[in-house]
Symmetry: C2
Subunit: 216 residues, 2 copies
């Protein structure tokens, strides 16, 4: 099992027993989740440091996390450190006391400095990876991207060097004294699913898209 590297930034101080160092589990969460949150420090209107967090879609290629947007989008700023979180909410942990209520989740945080992708071919390859992450095989069915569209699209990546993963699963950890407290206790699981609309303009003429069912 490849282990995630532990650094100053990725050491989990609160709830360390929920830390996981399994790189495979970390990569699986990245690949399953569509969205992440990118936090960065920007300059405020008065010249002061201002923190901003924005949601975006991401994908992975090897040991790099990629995201994209309008080439002038703020969260594509490269050469500035960011922190990115990907979180999957999996269930409500209903205990017998408010205090022991919790949630089941997988949460991954990345630290690093994004790097801008200049090369058009690299960009197109990565955008294909993104489309096919969501809907395997779709890229080949689409009207090909134009040079102009590629130029309007910014793509950045961050090395998955400093990554921390924290997970919770299982039922409530009630106090022993509360075992007979008369209330339902256990996990309420959360499920997501994807369903193509039936009334899309062109829907009937073509086969429904192949959306990856593990996507969350």
């Amino acid at each position: 099992m490849t282990q995630l590297k532990v650094t100053d930034l990725t050491t989990i101080k609160r709830g360390p027993k929920r830390a996981s160092f399994d790189q495979q589990a970390a990569w699986a969460l990245i690949d399953q989740a569509l969205m992440c949150h990118v936090a960065q420090i920007v300059e405020g209107s008065g010249g002061e440091s201002q923190v901003v967090v924005t949601p975006t879609c991401h994908w992975r290629d090897g040991d790099y996390l990629y995201w994209h947007g309008h080439r002038r989008a703020r969260n594509l700023a490269s050469d500035q450190p960011v922190s990115i979180n990907i979180c999957a909410l999996e269930g409500l942990v209903m205990a017998r006391s408010a205090f022991h209520h919790s949630i089941n989740y997988r949460s991954l945080t990345v630290f690093g400095t994004p790097e801008w992708i200049e090369d058009e071919e690299h960009k197109a390859q990565q955008l294909q990876r993104f489309v096919d992450k969501v809907s395997p095989g779709r890229w080949q069915q689409l009207r090909p991207m134009t040079h102009q569209e590629l130029a309007a699209t910014g793509v950045v990546r961050i090395a998955l060097d400093e990554v921390s993963l924290k997970c919770r699963s299982g039922g409530p950890n009630d106090d022993d004294a509360d075992a007979d407290w008369p209330v339902w206790a256990g996990v309420v699981h959360r499920y997501c699913h994807w369903e193509p609309e039936q009334d899309s303009q062109q829907g009937m003429a073509h086969q429904s898209p192949n959306v990856r069912q593990e996507l969350i």
Copy 2:
């Protein structure tokens, strides 16, 4: 309709036509979502500014957004500006070109400085609000919180003064020239639901919990 205030920080620069100023829609998203992402600037080990983003659960009381955690949790630091995002992913917008693919979402960003809740009664009231947001009426069924538990729990709030809301809905905006491109186009909707486990230790003895079905 109460309008969200527009400030320097909450002006949407990228995709301004997706901005919404409807306070009711903003509050509805906050109330429906369980989780948010809190971004803050912390001091790194070398004394430099480091950005960190963490997921947490939130709730709302009037014009305040609340969250909680272990009283020493980093994301409960008060008196430091934060940026918080709440995002609901609602569908995949499948166009006829990669370029016009998009997602349907509601995304809300808050800016401000959290304030620590000291008063025990205020804290308990708010924790009740949180439990009952998830499962209406549950607080009254639980073993009451102890003073020690309340003391171990930190609660902060932020005024919902600087809030921006951005939404996308509807089908793909394809180029006219692509109208007949032979691929399925339309929206793949995302649905979430909650399901209590059937094998919880105490599950059979008590009625299943009342989980708010709009919760996402």
